[in-house]
């Protein structure tokens, strides 16, 4: 990924790793390490200037913008630091909007939203509006919205960044529970403590992966990168 024109500054260089289905992974690094760019590239919000990104086996390089949108709608869930909830809509409507662009009908969206809210422990808040909720509850709503379509991968960008430490811990616990249920989650964070609590960590610095706990298991490291890309 290259930013700028004169001189071009590559934001990511030689980053290669695979995330397997069901993994809970932290991408950790200081500001400017390229982790946010990596999240955007993995989430197909940005196209890399070189290299290959595979989501659920699909190489995104050849896809049109519309196809990428469809891929995001069906395969990728996002959780943002700022939650990005619609204040005019109820919690259940916010969660249901996670399926808006998949073509699912309104009834199905609402039923699945109730279910997703149950998974994050907020079923009792379904009819509330976000301004009435605490920060932790809002982030749970955002997580439910990311999970509703049962995406191949959930990308969480500093999910605890706007929360106090207690609430943050509870969100991390929720991520662990969801992981235990089989969800594939990548958490991007600058918080090494949070990262350390997750099963796998990928450390980034200056656009490069400097450490990957999965790579310390030497048996299948290299081959998997080339065959599967980011899964």
């Amino acid at each position: 990924m290259v930013y700028g024109e004169q001189p071009p500054v590559p934001a990511l260089r030689g980053v290669s790793f695979t995330v397997r289905r069901g993994e809970l992974t932290a991408i950790v690094g200081p500001s400017g390490s390229g982790k946010s760019t990596l999240l955007h590239v993995m989430g197909t919000l940005e196209r890399p200037s070189g290299g290959t990104v595979r989501i659920d086996g699909v190489d995104v390089a050849g896809l049109t913008d519309t196809e990428l949108s469809l891929l995001r709608a069906h395969r990728i869930g996002f959780v943002f630091q700022q939650f990005f909830l619609a204040e005019y809509a109820t919690v259940v409507e916010n969660v249901a909007d996670g399926l808006l662009y998949t073509g699912a009908g309104l009834t199905e969206r609402h039923a699945r939203a109730e279910e997703a809210l149950g998974r994050v422990g907020l079923a009792h808040r379904a009819g509330f509006r976000p301004p009435k909720l605490s920060g932790g509850e809002r982030q749970r709503v955002a997580i439910a919205r990311a999970l509703i379509g049962r995406p191949a991968i959930v990308l969480a960008d500093e999910p605890t960044g706007n929360l106090d430490s207690v609430t943050g811990t509870s969100i991390v616990e929720l991520l662990h529970e969801l992981h235990a249920d089989g969800a594939t989650i990548i958490v991007v964070t600058h918080d090494t403590e949070l990262a350390a609590a997750l099963p796998r960590q990928i450390r980034m610095l200056d656009g490069q992966v400097v450490y990957d706990t999965a790579a310390t298991q030497p048996h299948d490291a290299v081959g998997r990168h080339e065959e599967d890309g980011v899964r």
Binding site: V58, L70, L71, R75, Q82, Y101
Partner: protein, 416 residues
């Protein structure tokens, strides 16, 4: 669990939002900021209201005028003594009414005789020059029925009062003389003689000249004001100067052709024949002409409204960057973002248009009801108003919608 093979098929499937979802998404801006939406729709509402109101009012007044013409009938002809070749005022022969009544298809002939030098005053104390531009006419007894003209107060002349010093006032004449009711002993001064007022007429739409006249009987005109003519060597009352002829509705033209030479066979060219309803019809047609100014103002209001909507939409797109980013992350295509903002702009303008049409139509209804006209809001006015609003919404929303769609998702998600 999905696998890579049918994953690709998923990606190929195009998703189209249902109409309901599209409407819900397009109305987000309106629901979250109702005051702003109302204000920006207001400009368009004012423009459409002006256009619909002007067109509705002029159509209703036209309809009112045409209904009035229908009520009064188009079968009235007027034959007036014109001028001689020498330039003097011509007279109609004394026998003209009787002769005209023999023209086939003539139903009624009424007539008046203008008494040239008589002036009318409220009392002898009024200075000579203050004539009020009123005329005094001798009138045939059937005049109100020929002109479909009602009596507002008091009564019309009758066989008894035609001989006496009794007058009936036209509506304008009554106003100028400051008389608004009729009571015994009420008199006016004309030709050195008191005349009692018997009644006041309603406006005569087909013969406005009657409105500014004081009407008396032919016999009285003869007796008190010296309005005489000579017939077979004998002085007799008359002559008439204007004939009003009612014809059978389908034979107006034949009567009109015969009227001048029948009224005055010796000098048909001195008789001016006209159809009073023509003037009214022309007025109805002209009614629309002065509206172009107001229509222009309405169009200006629409353009200003369009600029307002475009402005609000651009601000809205800037403000809602994170929403756009989120929607892109949730899987919205560029086209869907474009449609959302274009839809919002069209919705905004359509609301303004509908409100404007409603206000314009309401104004028409209220005004027309006040005037007793039929309410006519032309279909072109309200369909045109709403169509113009939709067009304006689409045009002014296009650029902001394109901007919103072009915005890169990552830039949109970067919080400011």
């Amino acid at each position: 669990m999905r696998t890579a093979t049918h994953g690709r098929a998923d990606v190929d499937r195009r998703v189209r939002l249902s109409f309901r979802d599209s409407a819900r998404v397009a109305s987000v801006g309106l629901r979250t900021r109702p005051l702003r939406a109302t204000l920006s729709a207001l400009g368009i509402a004012i423009g459409t209201a002006a256009i619909v109101g002007v067109l509705g009012l002029s159509s209703s007044s036209q309809a009112g005028l045409l209904a009035e013409i229908d009520r009064l009938g188009t079968n009235l002809l007027k034959a007036e003594a014109g001028r001689t070749f020498g330039g003097q005022t011509a007279n109609l022969p004394l026998e003209a009414p009787a002769r005209v009544s023999h023209i086939p298809y003539t139903q009624q002939v009424g007539h008046t005789g203008l008494i040239k030098d008589a002036k009318v005053y409220r009392s002898p104390m009024v200075p000579q020059a203050n004539t009020g531009a009123l005329q005094i006419r001798a009138a045939s007894l059937n005049l109100p029925s020929v002109l479909t003209m009602g009596v507002d107060r008091g009564s019309w002349l009758n066989a008894g009062t035609v001989e006496g010093p009794v007058a009936v006032l036209g509506s304008v004449a009554a106003q100028r003389l400051g008389i608004d009711r009729v009571h015994p002993g009420l008199r006016i001064w004309t030709g050195g003689q008191w005349f009692h007022i018997a009644g006041i007429l309603k406006p005569a739409t087909l013969a406005p000249e009657i409105d500014a006249s004081v009407l008396i009987g032919y016999e009285a005109a003869d007796k008190y004001l010296g309005h005489v003519s000579v017939s077979r060597g004998e002085a007799t009352y008359g002559p008439p100067t204007t004939l009003y002829v009612r014809t059978a509705t389908d034979h107006v033209e034949e009567v009109q052709a015969a009227l001048a030479r029948t009224a005055n066979p010796q000098a048909a060219n001195e008789v001016n024949v006209s159809q009073p309803s023509d003037a009214l019809t022309a007025r109805a047609a002209a009614e629309g002409a002065f509206n172009s100014l107001f229509l222009g103002l309405g169009a200006v209001a629409l353009v200003v409204g369009a600029v307002g909507v475009a402005n609000i939409m651009i601000i809205s797109v800037l403000e809602r960057r994170s929403e756009i980013g989120l929607r892109r992350a949730l899987g919205a295509t560029k086209g869907q973002i474009r449609m959302q903002f274009l839809g919002e702009s069209i919705l905004l303008a359509a609301l303004g248009g509908v409100a404007g049409v409603a206000v314009g139509a309401l104004a028409t209804v209220v005004y027309a009801a006040g005037k007793g006209w039929a309410v006519v809001v032309p279909a072109q006015a309200w369909t045109g108003g709403i169509a113009a609003a939709l067009l304006i919404g689409a045009v002014s929303g296009l650029l902001p919608a394109l901007r919103a769609a072009r915005m890169s998702p990552t830039a949109a998600l970067r919080t400011v």
